[in-house]
Each structure stands twice: as structure tokens, then as C-alpha cells.
Amino acid sequence: MNMLVCVKQVPDTTEIRIDPVKNTLIRDGVPSIVNPFDAYALEAAARIKDKDPSSQIVLLSMGPEQAKNALKECLAVGGDKAYLVTDRAFGGSDTLATSYILSSAIKKLEETEGKFDIIFCGKQAIDGDTAQVGPEIAEHLGYPQVTYALEVFAEDGKIKVKKEVEEGFEIIGVKTPCVITVTKPSFDPRYPTVKSKLAANRKEIGAITAYDIAGIDRERIGLKGSPTKVKKTFTPPVKTGGVKICEDCGTATAKKLIETLVADGII
């Protein structure tokens, strides 16, 4: 299998705090990480490669130079090659423009890496939380898609996906080439070893700019190519003064809670 995994570097949103005075996000000192869902996507690809070692896993990220760190981390846990799509002209892209750029870069990569059978994305990036880029890449390329994948199996060239749905799971068969977006499985992705980290550090990361992608439509990238505009951002109203209920024993606490709820007209 020839596989490509889209990897985004994101701020660790669990480390983000709100500045209580200015009411803005404090991003300073927030570490950048590999989007967790992309790590699960890479794990899904790596498991296919475990069974079929002739497989190739190519990593692709769009972002600033710094995103190379995320790619290096992924090279250490199963990626064979990595490419960074980076250009000032890409700044300000919304999901439609981002997916257009990534899909154009994928077509360009296929000239040298061969056609990809599966393009993996995370279900969503934890900064934007949109879950749109994967399906949009599929649309740009005209490929079928399976979203919310937990596990992916490639047997005799056929792809089967265990997909999470509201009522449980589905097993979906999908034709290649395809796009699969991966959600959190119940297992952890593999860890790098000292050796694999060293090897990853030595690997070259290819850079792709807008000039490298022949025929990219400059009207469709960056702010100009983004139909959605952010009008404003604000921090959600923080709930302050939740009523604390804590009596000497559980029974008293429970009774106090009921009293309070009844008094407040909640029940």
C-alpha cells in the first residue's frame, strides 16, 4: 500500500489558559504537538505497514518551518518520508483553501512518490475542531471517503474500515484510492525509540512552495481563496460562583443538594 498521512502541528489545547483580565487565550508557552487525531491516523497506516512491509508511508504537513518538528516526530513512529508545504501565500487559508492546497500538493507528490492508495487524515484538528479538511481533500481529488475510522484493514488489496457511528460501529468497504479520517481508538499509538528518533532526525524533509505546484490557482489560496471570514473571537462566558455543596457526610451533602435544587426551581 502506498499511503499518505496529513499531519498538522497544533497548540496543545489542554494547556491553553484564559487571561482572566484581557479575556484572551494565553498562547505563550503553550507547547506545539502533533494533532492527536493525526497520530491515530499515522498509527492506522503503520499497522497496515506492519502487515505489509512493502508499504510506504509519506507524511504531509502544511504550515510554517516549525511544523517540521511535528513531521520529525511522525518520522520516528512509522513515517518513511515527509514533506512540508510552506509559503507565505498560504497564510490565512480556511479549510476550503487548505484542502485545495493539500490536494494540489498531493497531486504534485504523486509524480515522484507514485499514486497513493489511501490518504489518511485525522478526524479533526484540535485547534480549529472543524473536521472538514479530510472530506474536502477527498472532494478535490474526486475520491470516496470514510470518516470516523477506528481501525483500517487492508486485505488482498481491499480496504475495510471499522467506523464509529451513533449506534455502535459499522464495517465499511471502500474502493481505492480513498480518503480515510481517523478518530480516537481505544489503544495508544506506538512510541518512538531512541534509535528511531535519531534516524528521524537525520532524514531530509522536502519543502513544497506555491511555485513548486504547477497550475495552482492563486485565487483559491490564502485569505483570498477563503470564503469564510472570522468576524470576531471571544472567550466563552466563564461560569463563576458555582454553588459549592459540601457537608460533613455524603448523606447530608445529598440532602443539601436536593434542598438547594428545589429552592432554585431546578427540580
Binding site: P11, T13, T14, I16, I18, L25, T95, L96, I126, D127, D129, T130, A131, Q132, P135, E136, E139, P144, Q145, V146, T147, E164, V165, E166, E167, G168, F169, E170, I171, I172, G173, K175, C178, T183, K184, S186, T228, K229, V230, K231, K232, T233, F234, T235, P236, K239, G242, V243, K244, I245, C246, E247, G250, T251, T253, A254, L257, I258, I266, I267
Partner: protein
């Protein structure tokens, strides 16, 4: 493309049996508020198999017009068949905006169609308004795991599309006597054009229906409940309250309760009147799924648990002592 009308569409997602999912009906109420301001008609778009009941619901919940695409190939959702049908309808009628429920299928379909239309999509909105200055829909949504809210406009392309979280808007009272214009469209896809195949359905919960999105009250448990038996007092409390049982990921990963119960970033997004979190620490991924609940009651023995930052009632104590008493007291109140 340009809009041909000022109409606002609500995608009415159907179940395999052809009935309407709750979220589409909720969005008819939300859509009415927008249409009242921007003009145009409120149109329900039903795609499914044996859709009579969904069409009836769409009318009862307020659609002026219902556009129906009915066929065997729409019985079970597939990206290819649904995207094809919705795209064809938009091309033909040119609505100015579309609301889609942010269910798994809605979030699969939305980006596929918006991309084909080369227009903007705002995902997972929690509030909708008409922007006073420009008349565009102002889509407000959480980002950064709920730490930040953003209001997004799609000023230049049409239709403007958004997926909207289930449970954020409440259904209005249905009016069975309403009538509406019903338009039936014959759109079919060749089976060979559907490139995915449903091989197997694994239903996790045969014994109960977990409708977290539609629930008025949810009693959720996390790692703090200690094991699968730990859900028993929770179920008892849920029973006396007529509530649905939810869970934090840690309890699901431990295998104590099926995933269908999970609330959060990788589970369901809920907005009940009352959310009772028992033994849940309040990780950002959990809070992302329940912070829009009206009243949040958290029971945790750790006074510093982050769940208390979003709770209205911060109950500090051991849930094994508190829950049984709570259940008994509520029973008493009820009788």
C-alpha cells in the same frame, strides 16, 4: 454560485426507517428565527427511503416547503449518494443558506457538498444570528476545545452553510394541522457510483436506546465510578429522573459502558436541561461535549477537579455515599 432565492434550507437527516432525526426538527425552529429576519422561505430538505413520516414531521415543525428525495439507495447514509442528491438540489434551487445537524453523517456530508459548491462551511455551530451590518448569517462556534468562541461570516459565496450541534436548539411544539408545499425530486444514482459498501453493522446497545442528544436530563459517570457495577447507582438515579446515562471517555475505554454513551470531543455533544457529572474530572475533551448544558451538577471528591469550573452546583464528596441518598430523596419528592 449565486443564490437564486432568499430561502433557507434545513437538511432533515433521516434514520434508516425513514423517520426524521431530532436535530433536523430542532433546526427548523432555529431556521425560522433567521428567515423572519432575512426573508425567504424555510425549506426542509428530506433525503431518505420511505420518508413519509419525516416529511410530515418537517411540516409539523414549521417548514413552508419540503423538498423530498426518496429512494432505496438513500435508506442507509452514504457520502456519495447523499452528496450527489444535495448538490443537485442546490444547483437547481439556489438557496441562500443551509443548516445541517452536526451529527456524524452531517459532518461527513457538509464539507463534501460545500467543497463541491466552492463555498464556505462553518462547523459545529452553537449559535446563529443574522449579522446586522451585512445581512449574512453569523455563525458562532467553539474552537480550541471550547476555550475560544469564533463568529464566522461567509460574505461572498452562496449558499452559506453551517453544521449545528444537536441539542443546542430546542424543538418547537409540532402543529399537525400545518400544511406546506411538497416538492418531490427524482434523483437517483447508479449503484456503481456509490464507492463504499456497508459490510456489517455492529450495534452496541441492543437493550436500550441511547438518545443523549435529545435527552432533557443526563446522568454521566467517569472513572470515579470505579467499575461497570459503578454505573448501577447512576442508572437508578437516571431512572427516577427519567434521565439518559452518559459517560466520560475513561469509563468507555475501560469497557464499563459502550461508546454510544460517551459525551465529548470524540463522543456526543449534548445540551440537556440538567447534566449530572459523577466522578468525572472534567478534561477539556469532555467539557467540549457538555458545556452548553443548562444546569450542570458535578459530584467529585476532589475539590480541585476542573469539572467544578463549569458546574453550577459543585458537590464535593464521595459519590458512593451521595448517589443512593440522592436517588431515595428524589423518589420521596416524586411520590
Amino acid at each position: 454560485m449565486d443564490a437564486k432565492t432568499k430561502d433557507l434550507w434545513v437538511f432533515i437527516e433521516t434514520n434508516d426507517d425513514g423517520t426524521a432525526k431530532s436535530v433536523g426538527l430542532e433546526l427548523l425552529g432555529a431556521g425560522r428565527g433567521l428567515v423572519d429576519k432575512q426573508g425567504g422561505k424555510l425549506v426542509g430538505v428530506v433525503i431518505g427511503n420511505n420518508t413519509d413520516s419525516a416529511v410530515k414531521s418537517a411540516v409539523a415543525y414549521g417548514a413552508d416547503t419540503v423538498i423530498v428525495v426518496d429512494g432505496k439507495e438513500y435508506e442507509h447514509y452514504t457520502t456519495d449518494a447523499y452528496a450527489n442528491a444535495l448538490y443537485a438540489l442546490v444547483e437547481k434551487y439556489g438557496p441562500t443558506s443551509i443548516l445541517i445537524g452536526a451529527t456524524n453523517n452531517g459532518r461527513d456530508l457538509g464539507p463534501r457538498v460545500s467543497c463541491r459548491l466552492k463555498t464556505g462551511l462553518t462547523a459545529d455551530c452553537t449559535s446563529l444570528a443574522i449579522d446586522e451590518e451585512t445581512g449574512n448569517v453569523a455563525w458562532t462556534r467553539p474552537a480550541f476545545g471550547g476555550n475560544l468562541m469564533a463568529t464566522i461570516l461567509c460574505p461572498d459565496t452562496r449558499p452559506q452553510i453551517g453544521t449545528v450541534r444537536p441539542g443546542v436548539f430546542k424543538k418547537t411544539e409540532p402543529d399537525e394541522s400545518r400544511t406546506a408545499e411538497i416538492i418531490r425530486e427524482n434523483i437517483h444514482v447508479d449503484p456503481s457510483e456509490i464507492r463504499t459498501e456497508l459490510i456489517e453493522v455492529i450495534k452496541e446497545v441492543a437493550d436500550e436506546l441511547v438518545d443523549l442528544e435529545g435527552a432533557e436530563i443526563i446522568v454521566s459517570g467517569g472513572r470515579g465510578v470505579g467499575g461497570p457495577e459503578g454505573f448501577k447507582p447512576r442508572r437508578e438515579l437516571a431512572e427516577v429522573l427519567g434521565a439518559t446515562v452518559g459517560a466520560a471517555r475513561a469509563a468507555v475505554d475501560a469497557g464499563w459502558i459502550p461508546h454510544a454513551h460517551q459525551v465529548g470531543q470524540t463522543g456526543k455533544t449534548v445540551g440537556p436541561k440538567i447534566y449530572i457529572a459523577c466522578g468525572i474530572s472534567g478534561a477539556i475533551q469532555h467539557i467540549a461535549g457538555m458545556s452548553s448544558s443548562k444546569t450542570i451538577i458535578a459530584i467529585n471528591k476532589d475539590e480541585t477537579a476542573p469539572i467544578f469550573n463549569v458546574a453550577d452546583y459543585c458537590v464535593v464528596g464521595d459519590l458512593f455515599e451521595i448517589l443512593p441518598v440522592l436517588t431515595a430523596e428524589i423518589k420521596k419528592l416524586k411520590s
